[in-house]
Symmetry: C2
Subunit: 119 residues, 2 copies
């Protein structure tokens, strides 16, 4: 059994994170939580054009986050590993904690100022 270098593991790990580092792709994964979906369904669900949806799906597919299977003219996408959902949920919990701690009193301001300033 061959060894995968430590650096390589971190690179691959980062690539999985990067695949999830996009609001549309997160929406796709969350949409797949409750079952498989066709590209058209996902496209409508996330409110994005079909080619864009298809490319997002390609990114997720290349990282093994979603699986594609033909169904006639359709292609159905699904989640082969629910642990991805668990990880996303954990990060969402972290986010919720952060939002709660800062107070939710100015979501508009936060919208305009993406990063939390240092102190």
């Amino acid at each position: 059994m061959e060894k995968v270098t430590r650096a390589e593991v971190f690179r691959l790990h980062a690539q999985i994170c990067k695949a999830l580092a996009d609001p549309s792709r997160l929406l796709i994964v969350v949409e797949l939580r409750h079952g498989s979906r066709t590209v058209g369904e996902l496209s409508r669900a996330i409110g994005a054009a079909q080619p864009l949806t298809s490319r997002h799906l390609a990114v997720l597919r290349e990282k093994g986050i979603v699986r594609a299977e033909r169904d006639g003219t359709f292609v159905r996408y699904s989640l082969p590993d629910r642990r991805i959902l668990a990880a996303i949920d954990l990060l969402l919990d972290v986010l919720a904690t952060q939002l709660a701690r800062q107070g939710l009193r100015s979501s508009a301001a936060r919208r305009l100022r993406p990063a939390l300033r240092s102190a």
Copy 2:
């Protein structure tokens, strides 16, 4: 209590993922698993120049993934929320499963071909 829009939550969620979507930053987080570290320690641990390390830390800090506190001339970084570690570990498990399933027989080839081809 004000409402944070669904779209905004996904945007923030994606930003957390993006902050983790870099091998050096993952190394930093993992290095912090066992306690707080100064910038210099982290810089040596991940084998990156100090300014680069500092910028990576700024990214993580802005997303609330790490916390900074002055300690004399040093700045000590730590993890305020261990759930980030749990999420990272889950994704690492997913990666391990993927690697096991594909077989580890050509890590060199995989190194050169970042994406898993569609089929």
